[in-house]
Symmetry: C2
Subunit: 135 residues, 2 copies
DNA sequence: TGATAGTATGAACGAGTATTCAGGCGAACC
DNA sequence: GGTTCGCCTGAATACTCGTTCATACTATCA
């Protein structure tokens, strides 16, 4: 659960920095906003979907081409696009028996651009590949 | 050449827009880069972790305060911080028996800022709240 | 009309993951 | 020293989610 409803389990009366805690609770977005934002990030959290979206950055593509370009099965691509479609991240245009998809969410496009830009000028994302600890 | 594991299942010889498909395959980041990027987004894809990171945007906080500010159990917070720590997203500073955490990844901070900024000027994230299809 | 290509869907399986509970460890305080 | 406090960890549970296989649907073509 990610409810705000329940009061913190402990350490309630002895906050170290009560002011900031209070400020944070004030500024924290609503549950709904947080959930929706997490959902958006979740859509980008799968390598397959990420590839599809990156492919679509340059313009629309049909399912067939998307599968070929991203090295995925057409069924898998279709399932992924269904999800992205349900969240209004991509938009479909049907032409004959083909379906052309394109990015439909400026927000997601910005997130993608930011992520790719970061990949560029730091080939060292320095992602601790599953090593524990922190020195 | 940065090939994907499996060759496309079908529709290989009859690409609709072979040029763009080829271009996409050229520009597509490496498998490793895609996976790492997806991992980063995955860290932001959980409401609980998202709250913690938003709370840390203003500066460091101890586990106790984080739990109180975000309405989570201290155990849950600790587990989440462990993950974020392993990925170098947060950094810890120990003082006595307390542990103060703070954001350590400029990239993630930018992603958070972008997401929050988007929440501001569009209270209508217009996220199809689990409605299927548009057909 | 029948056949085929492109896409979509549903079910099933397996893998990964969040949450909870119980306990453990080190630092401060008496 | 013993105790409390703050934080960490491991195990167990339940759950979500991606992938695959089989099948269905719709539009084009012969």
């Amino acid at each position: 659960m990610n409810e705000y409803s329940g009061e913190p389990a402990a350490c309630v009366d002895r906050l170290v920095d009560a002011d900031r805690v209070h400020a944070v609770r004030q500024q924290m977005p609503t549950d709904r906003a947080v959930d929706e934002t997490a959902d958006v990030f979740g859509l980008l959290a799968d390598p397959g979907r990420l590839r599809l979206l990156v492919a679509l950055l340059g313009g629309e593509l049909c399912v067939c081409d998307l599968a070929a370009a991203c090295g995925q099965s057409e069924s898998g691509v279709s399932h992924a696009l269904r999800l992205l479609r349900a969240h209004r991240v991509v938009q479909v245009r049907r032409q004959g028996r083909r379906a052309f998809y394109r990015l439909a969410d400026a927000h997601v496009r910005m997130l993608l651009d930011l992520a790719l830009a970061h990949l560029d000028h730091t080939s060292s994302l320095r992602l601790a590949t599953h090593r524990e600890q922190d020195r």
